[in-house]
Amino acid sequence: MRRPLPLLLLAIGAIYGAWAIAHGSPYTLRVLSVAGIYALLALGYLMIFGQAGALALSSGTFMGIGAYAAGIAAARYGIGFDLALPLAVGLPVLLAALVAIPVLRLQTHYFALATLIISQIALLVATEWVGLTGGANGIGGIGGLTLAGFPIRAGWQSLALVWSAVAVGGWLAARMTGGLAGAGFAVMRADGATARAIGLDTDALRFAAFLASAAYGGFAGALYVHTIRVVSPDVLGFPVMVTCLTIAVVGGRRRVAGAIGGAVLVTLLPEWFRALRDYYLLAYGAILLAVIVLLPEGITEAAETLLARLLRPAPAPLPPALPVPPIAVTRGPLLEIDALTRSFGGLRALDDVSLRLAPGEVLGLIGPNGSGKTTLLNCVTGLYRPDAGRIRFLGADITRLPTHAIARAGLARTFQTVSLVAEMSALDNVAIAVEAASVGLLRALGGTGPQFTRARGIARTLLEAAGAAEVAQLPAGSLAYGIRRRVEIARALALRPRLLLLDEPAAGLNETEQADLAARLRDLAQGGLALLVIEHNMPFLLPLADRMICLDHGRVIASGSPAEIQSDPLVIEAYLGRGAA
């Protein structure tokens, strides 16, 4: 059993549910229904906040809009819960799609503000547009839940319907947060630039997560309005959002079990602590504060860590190794950079840089600190837009392509500091890059199990080739630095690149590890892969490179064989200062 906690919680929940249905008062059953509704809301919030890592403050509003849509449909037009669902889910999703385009790319705090403002507008409109919404009093007399025309009675029937929805919603959320999509989200949270560099379309992922959160919110709202039987501006108020945030933080923001368990806990706590009555809300704030300070990952993740320590579960078995699909061999120039220029403020970081790279060639790129080497790499991989100049790869112009498209075209890179996802296994770190192009929430809904298994099989082969097979199942964060470097190179190769850009690959390696890395890189080059290597470590680079280029102040000051570069007076001056030659 790899994940004992969800099963444990499920068992406790089932027993408690059975007890409540047998002995609970109608009031208890209604509170449990509301808990289920909040669980659905929190499952949506899990997507945008927990998985995509965006601090959205609009999920409560999506639920409120769903509630108003279903409530108005029922009270004004007599449309029941089930028939109004497309509207109750569709309206928040539509709104999310509209605001996402301009708002979703904003930085953390601006995004939080933008979503907060959208929430305030929704609340004010609901309060003011009396003709449609009933104003501050809202709309009462809304009927109970219905399903395919049949009324669902309050009490255990409603409870069963709500919790069936939670079960389905939880299962779908587990699909969207597990497997390939979950791994994709993990890479994106760890470092957005890395995620794009291994071919993940992070913008699309974040957009889909935002829409999913709106859909869950709208569904929860429709259930809510038919359970409470009234709709009023309260449902659009900030306290709903705060409850949602509290559930996520207390329960555990990245786990399906955390969203559901957190919702039950946060809804039932006030019932259990009725004696505290007035002080309860005070305690509520104190609990939120204590959890964020003491258990920043939430209760479920803390419990999971604890259980893992107690049970020491065996890691998932390694999948059978699969061959890496071959790469078509091409002739002609691979990378052509012409007159590339990029400035930061007044400083020209790259000034009219041109270079060529042929298949199978190893080009060493050197230059003093601040000479523009990493800027060049960032321009080639699309992280920066050049101000002028052109980059062609395999004959196609890639100057303005987004990073993930460049990566998928066969141009892979490693970073100065190894950027693997620490808590993910080495195998999965590589597997996600194998299938980066097919990571998406819609695809995740259909299940990505077989794909992920195949990707892991290929990843295993890549890790074996990189000399890291024995650590495949260990979390990447636990590995020694030299091994992590190998895993990172295996991940880059998972893109099946024609060209690999390496930014200081030998940094932090001891001499044995350096020699090993050099030998592996040479093998790769002999297999037809072109390498562009930035390195300061000359004993490492000189024997490896076929040709070298030296940058200084953003310009190419020398180009030639390693021996020529080594004795070039301009290079010596750039490094050692005038008169040193």
Binding site: H109, A112, L124, V249, L282, Y284, G285, A286, L288, L289
Partner: protein, 296 residues
């Protein structure tokens, strides 16, 4: 209402908002984090004024130092409980921990004072009148002026600013960074306290007011350019201008009477919200910001 009165109202409101926004931006600069409890500290300042007034029969202007000192202590507590333990975590942790502080403050106020609206005593003894508005403007201007002098012309002010701009280097030139951050929270909270006293007299104070004020501060700082202190004051004045002028438009331009429904207080808030959303989309660096500094 004549134009002079409108200008007076505008400046009084803008001055109070400016104090709120200043507290917000000081903490933002010093920590890189949003203090979501800033609005609730304003509310707490209002209730502090109400409770001091019930004990001492003093005018607001004498209560002001008491309220500011009390809130400074609250600010230190917020720094110790909700900021320092999380200083090495991503900024949204502080966002959430200060939301929790806000919930605590809001419910403590409900327990202590009930849900009904209370009013703080006016700054000057005596009745309502333009004199009170003028006093508010003068008090706020004096506070902002004192803050300006402290920040720009004292060693402590220089150290606070240096800490806000580069913590590592501040430490490397001898500044005790954590002490500076705690001091910043104290200053920011006492500004919120002053704003709370003024606003609790201009309007009323209820325990749920915080959400409104935090949004105003957030918006003022966004308009003014994330992290800019002068921008925060300007942004606050612009919000006040918007809030005072929008409902007054039909009075100033009689032709608009026909659609007077569009000039309610609520419509002014919605209009402001839409303007801010457009601003965020088109100029995320703020109206006056040079370039968005990505300290977030």
């Amino acid at each position: 209402m004549d134009l002079g009165q409108i200008v007076f109202n505008l400046l009084a409101l803008g001055a109070a908002y400016a104090l709120v926004a200043l507290g917000f931006v000081l903490i933002l600069n010093a920590t890189g984090a949003v203090n979501f409890a800033q609005g609730d500290l304003v509310m707490a300042g209002g209730f502090a004024a109400v409770s001091f007034a019930s004990m001492l029969d003093w005018p607001g202007v004498l209560l002001l130092p008491l309220v500011m000192a009390g809130l400074a202590l609250v600010g230190v507590a917020v720094a110790l409980v909700a900021y320092l333990p999380l200083r090495r975590r991503p900024p949204e942790s502080v966002f959430i921990s200060t939301i929790a502080v806000g919930i605590i403050a809001q419910n403590a106020a409900t327990l202590g004072f009930g849900a009904q609206a209370r009013a703080a005593p006016p700054l000057l003894p005596g009745g309502d009148g333009p004199g009170q508005k003028l006093a508010i403007i003068l008090v706020a201007a004096a506070l902002i002026g004192a803050l300006y002098v402290m920040f720009m012309h004292t060693q402590t002010g220089r150290r606070l600013r240096a800490t806000a701009q580069d913590r590592d280097i501040a430490a490397a030139i001898g500044i005790r960074v954590d002490a500076m951050v705690i001091a910043t929270f104290a200053v920011a909270a006492s500004l919120a306290g002053a704003a709370g006293l003024l606003l609790a007299n201009l309007f009323f104070v209820t325990p749920v007011d915080g959400a409104n004020y935090i949004l105003k501060a957030y918006i003022a700082v966004t308009i003014g350019g994330w992290g800019s202190i002068a921008g925060a004051v300007t942004g606050a004045l612009l919000i006040a201008l918007f809030e005072v002028l929008w409902p007054a438009l039909p009075l100033l331009l009689p032709g608009l009477d026909a659609i007077s429904g569009a000039f309610s207080q609520t419509m002014s808030t919605i209009a402001l919200d839409i303007v801010i959303l457009l601003l965020l989309m088109l100029r995320p660096q703020g109206l006056f910001g040079q370039a968005a500094r990505s300290r977030a």
